[in-house]
């Protein structure tokens, strides 16, 4: 029997959930909305009417498009390097017993647990010691370093969920280790690699703290926004941010579709052991 208390409780829980979602989405909504603001002067903080002029000319602001290209290039390169390295690190950790396996397992995750400020400062110190010119390359190195942990975690989970006998079957049928990895392991962990790649891309493109320490003269999108903030953030930044948001949404849906397909493909394979 549902009592009145039950009904009131349900309504309150529903209202609370709606509030939480509104709270999460208001900033995003404001960013999108203000890309259409017909602002007068430098500041873009008060609503002054609707316009499409910023969308017609998103690259009008000097340096913004360069920053965006830099960010996208770093994110793309970082993703490629990180998933390549990460796949092999995950394979090594999960599949092979070697000296230093435990240490590798821990060390890879250390950057995730380290505060970003510490990480950025430490890297800067290291680059200075090595007299390494700061710029595009150092930012890329830094990004690979802290995305690698996420990539390894994601791919490792996929590998651990895989039936070991599938790889043994490949060897049983005459495939050596390389062929087994190429023909069986990689196709089976591909959904994990895709997910890891998207994660790496997303983390790289919005990083500010570590980049700020190690960028030198190079300006990424977050660094540009930070720099611009003092004289008023141009609405073009909102336009770019909205585009990125759109891209993120598309990639997210693609990812969900890939994961679903993989789940269907691998579902219910093999006997559901009735007896031991």
């Amino acid at each position: 029997m549902r009592t009145r208390v039950d009904r009131i409780r349900d309504v309150l829980i529903g209202a609370w959930a709606v509030l939480a979602i509104v709270y999460l989405f208001i900033p995003i909504f404001v960013i999108v909305l203000f890309s259409f603001n017909d602002n007068k002067g430098r500041f873009n903080f008060t609503w002054q009417g609707f316009t499409l002029r910023h969308w017609k000319d998103p690259f009008a602001v000097e340096g913004l498009s360069d920053a965006m290209v830099t960010s996208l290039s770093i994110a793309a390169l970082c993703t490629v390097i990180s998933i390549t390295l990460g796949t092999f690190v995950a394979l090594a950790i999960v599949r092979y017993r070697f000296v230093g396996r435990g240490a590798t397992n821990t060390l890879v995750f250390l950057p995730l647990a380290t505060p970003e400020v510490v990480l950025g400062a430490a890297l800067l110190g290291w680059f200075l010691t090595m007299s390494f010119a700061r710029g595009f390359t150092t930012v890329l190195i830094a990004h690979v370093m802290f995305t690698l942990g996420y990539v390894v975690i994601t791919i490792r989970a996929r590998l651990e969920g895989m039936d070991l006998h599938i790889e043994e079957a490949a060897q049983d049928l005459g495939a050596n280790q390389m062929t087994t990895i190429r023909k069986v392991t990689l196709p089976l962990i591909a959904p994990g690699i895709v997910a890891a790649g998207l994660l790496a891309f997303a983390i790289s493109i919005d990083d500010f703290v570590v980049s700020n320490f190690n960028a030198g003269q190079t300006v990424t999108f977050p660094l540009f926004v930070y720099g611009a903030a003092r004289q008023g953030v141009p609405p073009q930044v909102n336009v770019m941010a909205t585009m990125l948001l759109g891209l993120a949404l598309v990639l997210m849906f693609v990812n969900v579709a890939i994961q679903r397909r993989a789940a269907r493909r691998d579902a219910a394979l093999g006997p559901q052991p009735a007896r031991v």
Partner: protein, 384 residues
């Protein structure tokens, strides 16, 4: 071939004098402290349907995985067709495995799954297509070649796994509880199909199972495993009619076992004292046996006759006197429990052959009789 002259139980009988297909010599496998396989020596004849039978955890899978190359023995030697393969990786051994979980490649069609081994061997395309087709026909899956394994039932997946292994024409096929996860009806059907296929292709099959009935139906030779060792090896008939250990006697079918002491031996006949009664057995069964022994007999080998009317025990048969404590009619037979005068409870299965057989009710005095050659002698187990 090898300087292995001791006659292993069930030594290899090959007409052409060739060695065994698979040989394990003093093989031990430890996982940390745990001994999974213990000093195992075993030869598997070429072309045989060989079953490794034993309860869960006795080391069957580990033994099979060592033959396949997936586990390295802690000590000992493994040979395939006379070649020492102890250190050879799986992809260089000419045996194929049907895994308990089937381990099909989910990202490939059935056809691609089956072609995988041939592609590794770089078999020419037209030959590859023909052989894949033949293998799929053999397991009656020709129509489903383009399907994905996930779109198939358990029984169909099992047959894909079989085709994927057989298509390579390996020297031996290793099957780990291949029917274990299927329902009873399908299991019976596939048992027949598997035996059929084995005879057709003539490849050595090593079949791991914990189902004694499955092993007896399918295999020419059965090795009964316990605690990482082989308890007894022989044909189904040998194991059933003449088990040599208490474990084998109880694992394959049911047995009546009675503690007994050897009292006399004359020519072909040895005589035991079993709780006051005399039990005669063929004397060859006690050759080389020592320690505490039990005599045994299968419940269906015993006849019951009323003892109250002073009925005659047929000449030369073993006989235990007692009274019926329980009788249950189950259609094809009647199952009795008889408490002997020596204080043992023995089971008797009386076949329901012919009409109007009297069921002997509880309390009736009876003589349980059987022929001496139906008796077997097993080593008594410590603590049993």
């Amino acid at each position: 071939m090898q300087a292995h002259t001791t006659v292993v139980a069930g030594a290899v009988e090959t007409a052409d004098g060739a060695g065994p297909d698979i040989g394990l010599y003093d093989v031990t496998k430890r996982f940390g402290e745990q001994v999974a396989v213990d000093e195992l020596t075993l030869e598997i004849p070429k072309g045989s349907f060989f079953a490794l039978l034993g309860p869960s955890g006795c080391g069957k899978t580990t033994t099979l995985r060592m033959i396949g190359g997936f586990e390295e023995p802690t000590s000992g030697r493994i040979e395939l067709a006379g070649r020492d393969v102890t250190d050879v990786p799986p992809h260089k051994r000419d045996v194929n495995t049907v895994f308990q979980s089937y381990a099909l490649f989910p990202h490939m069609t059935v056809e691609k799954n089956v072609a995988f081994g041939l592609e590794r061997k770089k078999v020419r395309r037209d030959e590859l297509r023909r052989r894949v087709g033949e293998a799929l026909e053999l397991v009656e899956l020709g129509a489903l070649a383009k399907r994905r394994p996930t779109q198939m039932s358990g029984g169909q997946q099992q047959r894909v796994a079989l085709a994927r292994a057989l298509v390579n024409r390996p020297q031996a096929l290793l099957l780990d509880e291949p029917l274990g996860a299927l329902d009873l009806r399908l299991r019976k059907q596939l048992q027949i199909q598997l035996s059929h296929i084995q005879r057709e292709v003539g490849i050595t099959f090593v079949h791991v199972t914990h189902d004694q009935e499955e092993a007896m139906t399918m295999a020419d030779r059965i090795a009964v495993m316990r605690d990482g060792r082989i308890d007894q090896l022989g044909s189904a008939e040998e194991l059933y009619d003449q088990p040599r250990t208490e474990f084998v006697a109880n694992f394959l079918g049911s047995s009546n076992l009675i503690d007994a002491a050897l009292v006399a031996r004359q020519g072909d006949v040895a005589e035991f004292d079993a709780g006051g009664a005399r039990v005669r057995v063929p004397s060859r069964l006690v050759d080389g046996r020592d320690g505490a022994l039990c005599v045994g007999v299968r419940p269906e080998k015993i006849s019951l006759r009323p003892a109250d009317a002073g009925a005659q025990v047929p000449d030369g048969e073993n006989s235990l006197l007692g009274h019926v404590t329980d009788a249950s009619f189950v259609g094809v037979s009647t199952h009795y429990i008889v408490r002997t005068d020596g204080g043992h409870d023995i089971q008797v299965f009386a076949q329901n052959a012919g009409a109007g057989l009297e069921t002997l009710g509880p309390g009736r005095r009876v003589a349980a009789t059987w022929q001496p050659e139906y008796t077997f002698v097993v080593a008594k187990e410590a603590g049993a």
